[in-house]
């Protein structure tokens, strides 16, 4: 069956059907992102003083990604224009460039996400309002991970041995208990996991690379100034400044008992990161699906170009409309999340 009005405009609307379709879809998308944006506004303006994080996102990275998306928006419309000019080769070039831009955007975004998953803010009890950001010492963390895995493997092996012994016995005694150890993934540690781990492995303090040159603040509060008080972490000595180019890090040994809260920059960290991941995650999903559709046009629709070039051009126009919309959403997301 032939689909009507893929090329010819429908007399009553004056456009081909797919165009009405995509605009209906975009209308619903406007409401979807509109709802999330308005949630952002409500969360932001009702946030109690000193709870809204500012300046934790990397502006140069966000800026670069904005340029990448804008460039892809230009090339996708150029791809369509090339089809209209009967230049299939140029269409391919522009479209592949667009898809590459989309992949670049996603790659950068995934690095950005990953950085946030391992970037911690620590609240300590020794002084009021003592918080700082940084990373767990990589070596220390991998040591703990190895120790944890070894302990767990050991306990599992003991349990299996006891179990096989028990099952080959007359089973008059109780079955051996399953080993009880904290289940920790090490993907991004929570405060409770750090405490569990410390009692499980028997360490008293964590080794933390505190950041120095990092200006971030909670809205309505003075900037958290890492330079002002050096010894504020106040932990038993063991403070050594890293040398050379890594001078903006300071290695701290923080007793586990002094940690009020430690959280990576993940949704549970703060309302800001909850709405940040919601908005940018949904947007990244749009980028990914849009890239799939555009890649399909350039790699799988060659036959359509020979049989029905106008139909392909319309497809590309409709795909392009979606792509521009995704760009348009980012144009708002970038200043709202990164700059304001």
């Amino acid at each position: 069956m032939e689909i009507p009005y893929t090329v010819k405009p429908r007399p009553d609307t004056g456009v081909y059907n797919a165009k009405i379709g995509i605009w209906l879809f975009l209308a619903s998308e406007i409401m979807l992102f509109g709802a999330l944006f308005s949630s952002y506004i409500i969360l932001r303006i009702t946030a109690p003083e000193g709870t809204w994080l500012e300046g934790v996102l990397n502006v140069p990275i966000g800026f670069g990604n904005t340029l990448v998306l804008i460039a892809s928006s230009v090339t996708v419309v150029m791809a369509w224009a090339s089809l209209k000019l009967n230049n299939y080769k140029a269409f391919q070039r522009y479209m592949i460039f667009t898809v590459l831009c989309a992949l670049t955007f996603l790659l950068v975004k995934s690095f950005e996400y990953n950085e946030k998953f391992h970037h911690y803010e620590v609240w300590t009890t020794d002084e009021t309002d003592n918080r700082f950001t940084g990373h767990f010492d990589k070596e220390w963390l991998s040591e703990q991970k190895a120790a944890y895995k070894a302990r767990v493997a050991e306990m599992d092996a003991q349990y299996q041995a006891a179990l096989s012994e028990w099952s080959s016995s007359d089973k008059s005694t109780d079955a051996p208990r399953e080993p009880d150890y904290p289940k920790i993934t090490f993907f991004t540690l929570t405060t409770a996991e750090i405490r569990d781990l410390s009692s499980f492995l028997g360490f008293d303090s964590v080794i933390f690379e505190k950041e120095h040159k990092h200006a971030y603040k909670y809205a309505g509060m003075p900037e958290v100034d890492d330079h002002a008080h050096h010894d504020e972490a106040g932990h038993e000595g063991d403070e050594s400044h890293a040398e050379g180019g890594h001078g903006h890090h300071e290695t701290l040994t923080i007793p586990v008992g002094n940690i009020k809260r430690a959280s990576a920059f993940i949704p549970s960290h703060s309302t800001f990161f909850a709405i940040y991941f919601t908005l940018t995650g949904l947007h990244a999903l749009h980028v990914f699906l849009g890239a799939c559709v555009l890649a399909y046009f350039v790699f799988c629709n060659r036959r359509m170009w020979k049989e029905d070039p106008d139909r392909l051009a319309n497809r590309v126009e409709v795909g392009g409309l979606f792509w521009h919309f995704v760009d348009l959403v980012w144009i708002f997301l970038f200043p709202v999340l990164y700059l304001l």
């Binding site: 004056g14 509109g34 506004i41 928006s73 224009a81 521009h324 200043p335």
Partner: protein
């Protein structure tokens, strides 16, 4: 495809490149003004959103061809715009009376106090009888 049509597309392409360059400049501008202190945070937000709106309009008008579309499309966008403005309007309206924990707590206390009061009155009545 007529030569006329080709000429049309070619002039379109020129427009696309100019708009693309304008969007690049707009992005640089967005970042630049975020470092300028306009006196209050609200003004900074307004300036940032203004630039974003101009950029978004350029994308919508030229890349999405909204500068010359059919009435049916305008009707669709018009309705979407209407509901979007409604959504944001409700949000701003809600700002006048935000969900405020302290306020709610005070209200709850007030209710508790009045309820407690009426209970004691009931008690008085029962004593009278």
């Amino acid at each position: 495809m007529s030569a006329d049509h080709d000429h049309d597309i070619k002039s379109h392409i020129r427009t696309y490149l100019i708009i693309g360059a304008a969007l690049f400049v707009g992005t640089v501008l967005t970042v630049a003004v975020s470092y300028v202190d306009f006196g209050s945070h609200a003004i900074n937000v307004a300036v940032g959103l203004l630039i974003a709106t101009v950029k978004a309009s350029l994308v919508a008008l030229f890349f999405m061809h909204l500068i010359s579309e059919k009435t049916a499309i305008y009707l669709l966008i018009g309705s979407a715009f209407f509901f979007f403005v409604g959504l944001m309007g409700l949000t701003i309206w809600a700002d006048k009376n935000p969900p405020n924990r302290t306020q709610n707590l005070q209200l709850e206390q007030k209710v508790a106090v009045t309820e407690g009061h009426s209970h004691s009155e009931d008690g008085d009545h029962s004593n009278d009888h």
